[in-house]
Symmetry: C2
Subunit: 427 residues, 2 copies
């Protein structure tokens, strides 16, 4: 296809999504849930087709030399498919955000003003290899009354196609228009370019993937983008930290699941207590297999107090790196003010924690650190829609507009003002 043909194809899909979005915006919760139940059922019923398509992607991936880790991300088996279907049923159980009256008031002239939650319209999702994103995102968009336009990665091309067939069948069987959920049927870069220019038809683009993808989308999109960027999370151990709590939270925040965005990448220790607090915490982390990349001061302290613990000198780039692995950068800072300044300079505004028994220090930290989630005496690992009790999320926004932190059904919505009068005119 020529670039122009691809652009026309994508525009056609977006126009169809826009038309569908008007019907979706007024669809009842019951109808939307019926469609989602059907998606869950068909995922299992069509399991053989999906697994066959997935086998094709895996075979091509092996041919193209994809790493084992990438092949594992790509792989769908019966158990994973059941997990995806269970995820769909969890969304069925979530409350419908559409129509919720966020606030209501009556003005002196008698007009009544309600601010009501409404869908955004058409949401574009741009993602990479994990094919489960196809279902997760389509389902969250549908439940929140949005049409979705999905652009998956080339590694999962066949799997995504099979999953899109399931979505299309479920929607057709339950009376929803075809434009409600659409997968762009090409992974040509030009399709992505075309999609990013369709402001007016697409209301919001959510890129899910690596730094390169997010940067490309940010720099080229005319459509508003909500970024789910990297998590360089930080833990600060204050002079008034309870030592046992400091150790437990450090170990949990780093080691419980190092490959996720809310795990910590940097540990900041208050100079005032570093010589006493750092050695036991460092030892506990080492025992979990954590590589410690230390600044000069932390290195000096550890060499003196715990000469048996191996450490690596930190490079400048270590302070802003998302390791997603059992690696932790360690620095010594000048009290809570130093910690706030350090974290605001190096963190990615995702999740940052302080351990302290000093309420004043805690409040300084909580108000001073510029992040989606700030913690006092708890692990950063709780930044998650389910852990917050908000339900499934489409990602963790590191942006400050519209949605910050877990972005669930509510954050997939906009609002409108609904004004009811008895003939009021402006004087």
């Amino acid at each position: 296809m020529s670039n122009q043909d691809i652009a026309q194809l994508v525009r056609g899909l977006a126009e169809s999504a826009r038309t569908a979005s008007f019907q979706l915006a007024t669809a009842s919760t019951e109808d939307k849930n019926r469609a989602l139940e059907r998606v869950a059922a068909l995922l299992v019923e069509s399991g053989a087709d999906i697994l066959r398509a997935n086998e094709r992607d895996l075979a091509e991936g092996r041919e193209n030399g994809l790493s084992d880790a990438l092949l594992d991300r790509l792989k769908i088996d019966d158990k994973r498919l059941e997990g995806i279907a269970a995820g769909v049923r969890e969304v069925v159980a979530l409350p419908d955000p559409v129509g919720e009256v966020i606030e209501a008031f009556t003005r002196p002239n008698g007009i009544r003003i309600e601010r009501r939650r409404v869908p955004m319209g058409v949401v574009g999702i741009i993602y990479e290899s994990r094919p489960n994103v196809t279902i997760d995102c389509a389902v969250l968009c549908l439940k929140s009354g949005n049409a979705s336009l999905l652009r998956g990665g080339k590694e999962a091309f066949h799997t995504n196609g099979a999953l899109a067939n399931v979505l299309a069948r479920a929607l057709k069987e339950t009376g929803f228009p075809e434009g409600s959920v659409q997968l762009i049927p090409t992974t040509d870069r030009e399709a992505l370019n075309a999609m990013l220019k369709l402001d007016g038809l697409i209301q919001c683009i959510i890129p899910r993937g690596g730094e390169g993808l997010i940067r490309f989308v940010t720099e080229n999109s005319h459509v508003p983008v909500i970024k789910h960027y990297k998590g360089v999370c930080n833990l600060y151990l204050d002079r008034a930290a309870d030592p046992a709590m400091a150790e437990a939270i450090a170990v949990n925040a780093k080691c419980q699941r190092p490959g996720v965005c809310n795990a910590i990448e940097n540990l900041c220790v208050d100079r005032e207590v570093a010589a006493k607090l750092l050695p036991p915490v460092a030892r506990a982390l080492r025992e979990k297999g954590v590589e410690l990349r230390v600044d000069r001061e932390a290195g000096d302290i550890l060499r003196e107090t715990a000469p048996d613990l191996p450490t690596t000198p930190a490079k400048d780039s270590d302070w802003t790196e998302e390791y997603l692995d059992l690696i932790l950068a360690v620095t010594v800072v000048d009290g809570v003010d130093g910690a706030v300044e350090w974290i605001n300079r190096h963190g990615s505004g995702h999740s940052d924690a302080i351990v302290t028994t000093d309420e004043t220090a805690a409040q300084t930290f909580l108000s001073g650190v510029d992040a989606a989630a700030v913690y006092w005496n708890a692990s950063t690992r709780f930044t998650d829609g389910y852990e917050f009790g908000l339900g499934a999320e489409i990602g963790i926004s590191t942006d400050k507009l519209h949605a910050r932190g877990p972005m669930g059904l509510r954050e997939l919505c906009s609002y409108k003002y609904v004004i009811t009068g008895t003939g009021q005119i402006r004087g």
Copy 2:
């Protein structure tokens, strides 16, 4: 200055704004109000300087052949200056949105989660000729704890400079950092280009101006943009409309102040009652001097029922034009469903109204029309921060992300999750 020098200058200002934003984020309401009071006082005290600078802009504008309308927009006199100062004092009186707890809950594991309103950080304002925007925007940003970076138009260059001096003096005298409010001291296009690339330093760009400016910003910004786009507002007169109310609202929505974004540009009349309802409404509008641009059906009706009323045949472009003048496009539609479809196709999603006594028709309209504000039996002219009781606004957002409709202090804020625990870790 070379393009590179300009880019460096703008980056320096943005970095200074970013630094200031951390201090502003935790500034007390009292301190912020003290700075605003000082701004209001200095505006009057420095009136002579401001008027002298304004006179220079006016002289240059006349030399460059600016229209009288543009020169009038540009002009500042003592009365306008007092009006600007009064506007500042109104912002002092508004509640501070920062720190407000939007929601709070405790999870089964005992962690307490608060969602607190916080400033966005650095807000970039890009605007054209009206110099009062310099003060209005700076003041709203300051009250909401945001640093602002202002880029005004070249026609108001000297006036904006004088106003920026007032802001800088007031901030210095009340202990705020220089970076809190800054005017970019050049109107070179390259400065705008540089500003739009500073994602990471600037959190939000708000363009205020014509369609060309907004389009340029949307297409070139890497920073999230909130658009305050044109208002193609629509009024639908339903078969069950009260005729007197229909006439009063049509006249008010079009004529009370035709040059603003919440005035109507299109009138849709239900086919079922068009022959009866359109003639008196058209006559009332004509009596106010409104030019009527009619589709074939509306034209036929009026020629037959009110042959003395002059009308103009509407062109296709009339349905999407923001006249900002005593001109109204008139079309006949097929009941409320036809109206919803017509408005969603032609309107700009700003403000749309239905006049009807039929609650079912009204609910169809209110939920079906995709606009920031939808009205039942009231004039669209109420879409305004003050009329809604929300206070001063930085604009009326026609976007669906973050802010929709009047964008005031609250909408200039983001939020953060503040989590308090007693040592909770994730299992």
